[in-house]
């Protein structure tokens, strides 16, 4: 019997090295001696890792892959999203989607504008505040806690608060502007097609700026203090230090934030559906709101699935890039 009590790999050396082989056998013997009751055949130990990953694979992997397969399959049909009936219609949904000037392109454009605006401002503000907070001024923990707090709050509730605040009549923003005699700045923040998308960006920035801040803060903490001391001795001023030392040293963090920003933009749904629902017109339509409305409200499950496939393609590419970036950071 070539019993192996451990499917646990013990260091890279043991897997290949000869010395490892010896110690492994010795360990197996001991394990066998100490636990005679437990029959350890190789069949069982080979199976063990699969038992450890089984709950995750079943609950998460199979569920998500089933949903993805379902989406891909129905994207070639005229399914209404409710009944069991569907007919194969080939690529007609995709053709409709990709027609120049279609809603899909508007939604994609909005997603991209949203992504660029929020990522840049969140990163910029986050870095600024992280640099200040790192100075450990009196009360900096309180500031940090408040800037970070929206992350714990539901986006849909924050969006609801902003929906009232941004209301042209009863909203606090316009009230404040009128109070300051700046009436000309008062806007229909979510009702004007020209600015509604940027109002949604602002809500997102409120929600997620703390995310960038906290990640930059952690990044700043990992930069050696010696570098700053050296820079000081060399007579580097504040701005020089910021642009020549701090920002270059945080480039990995910045890349991560850009990536997570793209992922976040692709997931954006709650804020939009709560504030504008994609309107006025299609001026704030996002991929997810378009998909949701097509499937749930307009009974066009097939088209909705085709949008889903487009989102999935982008998402899977992003996930893989994310894992690669993560692995590089781990090294």
């Amino acid at each position: 019997m070539t019993a192996s009590a451990d499917s646990v790999s013990v260091g890279k050396a043991t897997a290949t090295g000869r010395r490892g082989e010896v110690s492994r056998t010795a360990r197996q013997d001991r394990a066998r001696v100490s636990k005679p009751g437990e029959s350890m055949n190789s069949w069982q130990s080979k199976l063990r890792p699969y038992l450890f990953i089984a709950p995750l694979v079943i609950l998460s992997g199979i569920f998500i892959y089933y949903c993805i397969g379902f989406t891909v399959a129905t994207s070639f049909t005229d399914w209404d999203g409710i009944s069991d009936e569907m007919d194969f219609i080939g690529l007609r949904n995709y053709a409709k989607l990709l027609t120049p000037g279609s809603v899909f392109w508007t939604a994609l454009k909005n997603n991209i504008i949203f992504m660029v605006v929020t990522v840049v401002i969140q990163a910029g503000l986050g870095l600024l505040l992280a640099v200040i907070l790192k100075e450990r001024l009196r009360g900096s923990n309180v500031f940090k806690a408040i800037f970070f707090m929206p992350i714990a709050m539901a986006p849909v509730i924050i969006a609801a608060i902003f929906r009232i605040i941004m209301d042209p009549n009863v909203g606090a923003i316009n009230e404040a502007l009128r109070f300051l005699h700046l009436d000309f700045l008062a806007q229909s923040w979510l009702g004007d097609p020209k600015i509604a998308l940027y109002s949604i960006c602002a809500i997102n920035i409120f929600e997620w700026m703390g995310f960038s801040m906290i990640i930059y803060y952690a990044g700043l903490m990992s930069i050696s203090e010696d570098i700053y001391e050296a820079a000081k001795i060399d007579g580097c001023g504040f701005w020089n230090t910021l642009f020549r030392i701090t920002i270059p040293n945080l480039s990995g963090t910045t890349n991560t934030l850009i990536l997570l920003g793209i992922v976040g933009s692709l997931k954006t749904f709650d804020i939009v559906i709560q504030t504008t629902g994609g309107g006025p017109g299609r001026s704030t339509e996002f991929l997810n709101t378009y998909l949701y409305k097509a499937g749930v409200q307009q009974f066009n499950g097939g088209l909705s699935a085709a949008i889903g496939v487009m989102v999935l393609i982008i998402a899977v590419i992003l996930s893989i890039v994310q894992v690669i970036v993560n692995n590089r950071a781990n090294r």
Binding site: S7, E38, R48, I146, R163, G252, T256, F269, S319, I320
Partner: protein
């Protein structure tokens, strides 16, 4: 490092400027909710006959808690296997799982709804918990695997020599030393599940199963603009946010470490 006084002043000015912006929505909501009739707006939300406030909070709490426990359990087990065991297909399965990490729940709206309906799980806790577990688990798997990669193999080797089974190593040795990681992934999953809106929106029609996110939109349905209605809307939103703020105050540290662990590795 010594600082000039002027630098300190500028820093405080910047901090307070943004503090005002970040407090503005909350402070506005609180003052406006009290402006008309004081606490009566809160009272009318709490005594709403259709959506019971405490019931709604309980629903969210229950769902988020169960999801967090399940996710921590299954992802720590799998993270352990992916990090410390060797088996055929290991990398393929791991990559296949993480390939879905950026998949938005919204992109699979239709199958999600249809599948849960087919199994008769609409309007149930289980119907919400299953997709929440599925979609939250992947990020936590990444965190657990990275974490176990940092745990020295010698710990496991030593336990093995002492005759511990793999299961015992996981339960009696690794889990007790991993309490910070359990807290981090647990809190992160809890907050994400608590804040989820699309899943209850798709699956719940029965008001007794409403979550706080769904209940908040219930109170927003009224398009009325009278000061009384605005006050009540704000009151409802504040009431729905209070549990989140309490959770935040308790778990801030773990939430921060979870967010940073996902993005930067020290």
């Amino acid at each position: 490092m010594k600082r000039k006084t002027s630098t300190t002043v500028i820093m405080y000015v910047v901090l307070f400027f943004f503090l005002i912006i970040w407090l503005f929505p909350i402070v506005t909501a609180i003052t406006k909710s009290l402006q008309v009739g004081g606490f009566s707006s809160y009272q009318s939300v709490i005594t709403n006959p259709d959506v019971h406030y405490f019931r709604v909070v309980f629903n969210s709490l229950f769902i988020a808690l169960v999801t967090a426990v399940v996710v921590v359990f299954i992802t720590s087990l799998a993270g352990f296997a992916f990090s410390k065991m060797k088996f055929a297909g290991q990398n393929v399965i791991y990559v296949a799982m993480l390939a879905c990490m950026a998949v938005p729940i919204a992109s699979v709206t239709m199958p999600l709804f249809f599948t849960i309906k087919t199994f008769g799980l609409t309007n149930t806790y289980l119907g919400m918990i299953i997709p929440l577990v599925a979609f939250n688990a992947l990020q936590m798997l990444l965190l657990w695997r990275n974490y176990f990669d940092g745990i020295p193999n010698e710990i496991i080797e030593a336990a093995r020599v002492d005759g511990c089974s793999t299961w015992r190593i996981y339960l009696r040795i690794l889990m007790p030393i991993s309490t910070p990681m359990i807290a981090t992934t647990g809190v992160l999953t809890f907050v994400y599940s608590w804040n989820e809106y699309l899943i209850p929106l798709l699956l719940i029609r029965d008001e007794s199963k409403y979550t706080v996110t769904l209940a908040s939109t219930y109170f927003m349905e009224t398009r009325s603009q009278t000061p009384e209605m605005v006050a009540q809307e704000y009151a409802a939103l504040i009431l729905m946010t209070i549990p989140s703020i309490i959770v935040y105050l308790i778990s801030q540290k773990w939430l921060q470490s979870g967010i940073t662990a996902g993005a930067v590795k020290s």
